[in-house]
């Protein structure tokens, strides 16, 4: 397997760091090497938020993304700020609930109304991050659906299993339709 670099970006409070941790934990479940890091404003909510995950089969030295294979953008600001930093032939997933008219010549752009799906199909916008990470895995197959599901169930609060599994399934389904 090649080195995969993921950048998950959006607004503070959208659960992107949690999504990054879940992706990284799924990689740990599969015995892969992984480093997760983040950058954010000092404020807990509302500031720009960015999580990075690197997955490889060999030891990872430099822990930061150099040029992402996959970018997830969950806010117009994030799409604007990070949209141009993408590997040639990479993938950009944008939350089309917030981002309109996004184009990129280098990468394949996948538009999914992530937050809208969370709201309309589940009734809870806070599972948008799970839909997003599931779509991301569904498009890249960097880890298996089973490993991702296990990682999600390890991380989420008790009593929210059902809606999170539903979120996983929605994300996965959209990814399959877009492939």
């Amino acid at each position: 397997m090649k080195r995969w670099e993921f950048r998950l970006s959006g607004t503070g409070g959208q659960g992107l760091i949690t999504a990054g941790i879940i992706l990284a934990e799924a990689a740990v479940i599969e015995g892969k090497e992984v480093v997760q890091s983040q950058s954010y404003g000092p404020e807990a909510r509302g500031g720009a938020s960015k999580a990075e995950v690197i997955i490889d089969t060999k030891k990872i030295n430099y822990p930061k993304v150099v040029i992402p294979d996959v970018l997830l953008a969950m806010s117009p600001e994030a799409a604007q700020k990070y949209g141009s930093e993408i590997k040639e032939g990479g993938t950009i997933i944008v939350d089309s609930s917030f981002i309109e008219n996004f184009v990129n010549e280098k990468a394949k752009v996948i538009k999914i109304p992530i937050t809208k799906l969370a709201k309309e199909e589940i009734g809870k916008t806070f599972v948008a991050n799970i839909i997003a990470v599931s779509a991301l895995v569904g498009l890249t197959k960097v880890v298996s659906f089973e490993a991702l599901k296990e990682a999600v169930l390890n991380r989420i609060p008790k009593g929210t299993e059902e809606i999170n599994i539903k979120a996983l399934e929605i994300g996965w389904r959209w990814a399959q339709e877009k492939v």
Binding site: I21, V28, V34, V35, Q36, S37, S39, P42, Y62, P63
Partner: protein
């Protein structure tokens, strides 16, 4: 070796878990980014082990509170960053002079002043050495991975106890906040050191005795030794003295007690140094970029190696010099304007020129930047 199952763990958590594994049962501190996770984890875990956590009213309180706790016999830890570490300096000097074992985790952030709370930096290298006033010994350990955050915090607690001294664990924001797949050693596999306690009757006890070991035994408060602790210059009994010959003898003991044991204190790692003509000296998160650079440049046939000091203080001077046989140029990448470079230059300047690669703008030094610097000096 028996190991736990692999987990995804954050650097700050690894420090907290390492401290607990080493026997730390008292934490006092004050919330500050990017070190706060350590306090949060200690507040959750210590009561489970019968230990104590307290969030003090300020950074100075955090530092001085752990010193009080250490005097009752507890292994103690505090954690902070930037402005908080600056505030703790007077009390760190007290710990050095009164010889109270304690560990200070400094998750370095961009400075000076408030600087960048969530930005990485390595600007506290010289502060760790000379931050408090007056001459004093210090030990500072610098992890480059989440795994090392655990193991080196264990080492730090052991060193603090063994040498009766404050010990820093110097993280940077990247190391503190990143998560990695790790499998920590089981507690049963760790060497855990407790401070030497007096075996003499209280009447014969000298808390600052000058003997061959240079490290006096330390009695727990409340065990009948009735000894005196002060930040004033003191004699073997611990009481203040103004006699120049006694001050001289005690300060010499203090300075020498770390130097005497350097062979067992010093830690470093070296990669591809045997035939290296260009040597990179790097530490903390920057060392990871240097490893990547060395691996990449070696595939091009460039004879480059890495020397990574793990004990920043004391500096592994002899070990570094032993790697210089073929070295024509030394590069020191740092996220500061050349702090450890000064030390490397002191140690190596008669053997090879030293060039710094400095970056202080909230971003990490990348492998590409290190490689570019190597090519520049080729």
């Amino acid at each position: 070796m028996k190991k736990r199952k692999a987990r995804l763990v954050q650097g700050n958590r690894a420090c907290a878990e390492g401290a607990l594994a080493a026997g730390v049962r008292f934490f006092a501190g004050y919330p500050i980014t990017p070190s706060t996770e350590i306090a949060e984890i200690m507040s959750e875990e210590l009561p489970k082990l019968g230990g104590k956590f307290i969030q003090m009213e300020d950074e100075i309180g955090g530092m001085t509170c752990i010193l009080g706790a250490a005097l009752t016999g507890k292994k103690v830890l505090t954690a902070s960053s930037g402005p908080g570490i600056s505030l703790k300096q007077e009390a760190i000097g007290y710990a050095a002079l009164a010889e109270i074992p304690c560990v200070i985790v400094n998750v370095q952030r961009l400075g000076p002043s408030t600087g960048g709370p969530t930005s990485t930096a390595q600007g506290d290298i010289m502060q760790a050495r000379w931050g408090t006033h007056g001459d004093h010994p210090i030990i500072a350990l610098c992890p480059s991975s989440v795994y090392e955050c655990f193991t080196l915090t264990v080492t730090a607690v052991n060193y603090a106890e063994k040498y009766r001294t404050p010990v820093y664990v110097l993280l940077d924001e990247i190391i503190g906040h990143m998560r990695e797949k790790v499998e920590f050693p089981d507690i049963s596999e760790l060497e855990i050191i407790d401070r030497k306690r007096p075996d003499c009757p209280p009447v014969d006890y000298l808390p600052y005795k000058i003997d061959k070991t240079l490290i006096p035994a330390m009695a727990d408060f409340g065990t009948g030794y009735k000894w005196h602790v002060t930040g004033l210059m003191h004699d073997e009994t611990g009481f203040p003295t103004g006699k120049p010959e006694i001050i001289d003898a005690q300060l010499k003991r203090l300075m020498n007690k770390i130097e005497k044991y350097e062979d067992e204190i010093l830690l470093w790692e070296d990669i591809e140094t045997d035939d290296a003509e260009i040597l990179i000296v790097a530490y903390g998160s920057t060392a990871r970029s240097a490893v990547e650079a060395v691996e990449n440049l070696r595939t091009e046939g460039i004879k480059v190696g890495l020397f990574r000091p793990i004990t920043i203080w004391p500096f592994p001077e002899k070990a570094l010099r032993s790697k210089l046989e073929n070295v024509k140029h030394i590069i020191v990448p740092e996220m500061n304007y050349g702090q450890l470079s000064l030390e490397v230059e002191r140690v190596c300047k008669d053997k090879a020129p030293v060039s710094g690669l400095y970056k202080v703008n909230s971003l990490p030094l990348s492998p590409n930047e290190v490689m570019a610097k190597v090519r520049e000096v080729l």
